[in-house]
C-alpha cells in the first residue's frame, strides 16, 4: 500500500492536498485497493457547496460502492472530468488523479486529519 507524504488523510481514506484556500481531494491507495476495479465515478457539480462530512462524490466498483466525503466545508472549483470516461485512473494512480479541487470555506476540519505516517499506522490497525 502506498502513502504519499505531504498529503493530509481522513479516516475514511480520502487524501487532501492543501494549497492556500484551495485543496485537491482524492481517494487513497488503501481505498482503491479495497474497492477493486473502479467502474464509475459520480462527480459533483462545479460551484456546489458542501459542509464538512458531506459526500461530494461516489466511487463504484463492480461489487462495492463508496462515498467520498469532504473533511472541510467547501465549494467545488473544478472536477476531474477525465474520470467520467476513464474511472480506472483511480486504480492506476490515485494520488495523481484527484477527484475535485475545492475552495475551503470552513477550515476547522483540517485539524483532525492525519499526516502520512499517522495514516499509515491507522491503515495497519484496520487490517
Amino acid at each position: 500500500m502506498r502513502v504519499e507524504s505531504g498529503l493530509l488523510y481522513t479516516q475514511n481514506h480520502e487524501w487532501l492536498k492543501v494549497e492556500g484556500d484551495k485543496a485537491y481531494i482524492g481517494i487513497t491507495d488503501y481505498a482503491q485497493e479495497h474497492l477493486g476495479d473502479i467502474v464509475f465515478v459520480e462527480l459533483p457539480e462545479v460551484d456546489a457547496e458542501f459542509d464538512a462530512e458531506d459526500s461530494i462524490a461516489v466511487v463504484e466498483s463492480v461489487k462495492a460502492v463508496s462515498s467520498v466525503y469532504t473533511p472541510v466545508g467547501c465549494t467545488i472549483v473544478e472536477v476531474n472530468e477525465e474520470l467520467e470516461s476513464s474511472p480506472e485512473l483511480l486504480n492506476e494512480d490515485c494520488y495523481t488523479n484527484w477527484i475535485a479541487v475545492v475552495e475551503i470555506t470552513d477550515k476547522s476540519g483540517l485539524d483532525e486529519l492525519m499526516n502520512a505516517e499517522e495514516y499509515e499506522a491507522f491503515c495497519a490497525e484496520q487490517e
Binding site: F40, E60, K63, V65
Partner: protein, 437 residues
C-alpha cells in the same frame, strides 16, 4: 399431495447419520415459549384430483372476458395474446430459474432480457431500459425517486393520471423523500398554463400520462418538457406501449423517463397481476435508474456474452444508501412481452393499435347516433368517457345482457376497445346503452 420425496425410512437414516434421533431434535434450538404446540388450523392436504376439482369450482364462479365481451380498460386491457406466448412461458428452464446471477448458465434468460430492453428502447425512443419492474404504477413511483435530489423534491402531477397510480405516488411520498403537487386539469386534459406556473427551481419532475386516464391524447407536452428542463427537472411520461405504435413516442416529446404497464404486451388480465412495469430513460440517467439491467460484455475467451451489470446501483450493494429497494424484476412477464412483440411484429402492433382506435371511433359514432355524448370532446386512442346519469345502473343492465361494461365515473362511463372486439359486440353495447335514453 406432498413434494417431500424422502420416505420415512430414508429420513430416519439421514437423521441417524448426523447423530439425531427424530425430526423434533432438529428444532431443539427453538424455545418452548414460542412453539406452536398444536397443529395449524388448516384443512388436511388434498390429492391432486381434489385440488383440481376445488380450483375449477372457484374459477367457474368468475365470468371471463371470453364469455362476456369486456369494455373495461382503465389500466388493463383485453388485447389478444397469441397461443405461442404461453407455450414458451411453460419452458421450465425459464420459469423455474432464479435471477440470472450465474451468467455462464443463464445466457438464455440474460439474452431474452437484453432483447426486451432493446424493444422497450425502440418503442419509447429512449436510450436505455431496465429489466422491468412490478407494474406501471410502481415504475412511475420509482421514476419520481430517480428525479428527486436534495434540492429538488417536488413532483408535479396532473389530476388525470390513473387514480391508482396517483394513490401509489402519494403512498410512496409518505417517505418524505419527495412531495406531490396535483394540478387540476380542464375538460379532461392537463392545464398547461397551471402546470407551467407550478414548475420552479425545486421541481424534480413533471409527470404526464399519455393517453391520459380518460383515454385522451394530451397536446402541448413539448412546452412542458421545455419548461421543466429549463428548471433542471425531468419530464416523466407514463405511456401505453400499444399506443406507441401510432402515437408520438416519449423521446419525440423530449421525455427523460418513460414508464408504463406492459400487461398489454402478451400478458393475461389475471385480475390485475402479475403484469410488468417498463422503465426507459435517456442515456445520462443510466447509472441512476432502479432495478436490474442486462449488459453485453465478453467472456475470458473474448466471446460475446451477457451479464447483469451496473449492480452497484442496487440494494444488495448500496444497502442503506440505495434509492430503490427493488430486487426482483418481472422477468417472466417481460419475457412474455418480448415473445409477444416478436410474434406480432412492428406491422402487427401498428394494426392492433389502429384497429383498437377504429373500433373506438366506430363505437363513439354509433353512441352519438343514439343521442349519447362524450364527456370530453378531445382526440382519444382506444378509450373514452361517455356521459350518463347512472353508470352503475347501466353496468348492471349491460351485465344482464351478457356484457362486461365500462369503468364508472360519477357522471360517465369509460369504455375501452381492442382488436378483439367485434362490430356485433359493439352494436349490442350501443343498443343497451342507447335504450336507456
Amino acid at each position: 399431495m406432498r413434494y417431500t420425496p424422502n420416505p420415512p425410512a430414508v429420513a430416519e437414516e439421514m437423521l441417524k447419520s448426523i447423530g439425531l434421533n427424530s425430526f423434533e431434535d432438529l428444532f431443539a434450538d427453538i424455545p418452548q415459549e414460542v412453539r406452536l404446540n398444536r397443529e395449524l388450523d388448516l384443512p388436511e392436504g388434498l390429492s391432486e384430483i381434489e385440488v383440481k376439482r376445488h380450483l375449477l369450482e372457484k374459477a367457474r364462479r368468475n365470468i371471463t372476458v371470453d364469455e362476456y365481451p369486456c369494455f373495461l380498460g382503465a389500466g388493463a386491457y383485453d388485447h389478444f395474446v397469441p397461443a405461442a406466448v404461453d407455450q414458451i412461458l411453460l419452458r421450465s428452464e425459464f420459469y423455474t430459474a432464479y435471477t440470472p446471477y450465474q451468467p455462464e448458465i443463464s445466457q438464455g434468460i440474460l439474452q431474452s432480457i437484453f432483447e426486451y430492453q432493446t424493444m422497450i428502447c425502440k418503442l419509447t425512443g429512449l436510450d436505455v431500459s431496465n429489466a422491468s419492474m412490478y407494474d406501471g404504477g410502481t415504475a412511475l413511483a420509482e421514476a419520481c425517486q430517480v428525479a428527486v435530489s436534495s434540492k429538488a423534491k417536488k413532483i408535479i402531477v396532473p389530476d388525470n393520471i390513473h387514480p391508482e397510480n396517483l394513490r401509489i405516488l402519494k403512498t410512496y411520498a409518505l417517505s418524505g423523500r419527495f412531495a406531490i403537487e396535483v394540478i387540476p386539469g380542464k375538460d379532461g386534459i392537463i392545464d398547461i398554463e397551471a402546470m407551467k406556473k407550478a414548475i420552479g427551481k425545486g421541481t424534480a419532475a413533471v409527470v404526464i400520462q399519455q393517453p391520459n386516464f380518460y383515454g385522451i391524447i394530451e397536446q402541448g407536452i413539448e412546452e412542458l418538457a421545455e419548461a421543466v428542463h429549463q428548471n433542471k427537472g425531468l419530464l416523466i411520461m407514463s405511456v401505453d406501449p400499444i399506443s406507441l405504435a401510432i402515437l408520438k413516442s416519449p423521446a419525440e416529446y423530449g421525455a427523460d423517463i418513460a414508464v408504463g404497464d406492459g400487461q398489454v404486451l402478451g400478458n393475461n388480465l389475471s385480475f390485475g397481476g402479475p403484469y410488468l412495469g417498463f422503465f426507459a430513460a435517456s442515456e445520462k440517467l443510466l447509472r441512476k435508474i432502479p432495478g436490474r439491467i442486462v449488459g453485453q460484455s465478453v467472456d475470458s475467451e473474448g466471446k460475446k456474452a451477457f451479464v447483469l451489470t451496473l449492480q452497484a446501483r442496487e440494494q444488495h450493494i448500496r444497502r442503506e444508501k440505495a434509492s430503490s429497494n427493488i430486487c426482483s424484476n418481472q422477468a417472466l412477464c417481460a419475457l412474455a412481452a418480448a415473445i409477444y412483440l416478436s410474434l406480432i411484429g412492428p406491422e402487427g402492433l401498428r394494426q392492433i393499435a389502429l384497429r383498437s382506435h377504429q373500433m373506438a371511433v366506430y363505437a363513439k359514432n354509433e353512441l352519438e347516433k343514439k343521442g349519447l355524448t362524450l364527456k370530453y370532446k378531445q382526440p382519444f386512442f382506444r378509450e373514452f368517457a361517455v356521459k350518463m346519469d347512472n353508470p352503475s345502473t347501466m353496468n348492471k343492465k349491460l351485465l344482464e345482457n351478457g356484457i362486461i361494461g365500462g369503468f364508472e365515473l360519477d357522471d360517465a362511463m369509460m369504455l375501452a376497445f381492442t382488436e378483439k372486439r367485434t362490430r356485433a359486440e359493439i352494436d349490442k353495447l350501443v343498443n343497451v346503452l342507447g335504450g336507456e335514453k
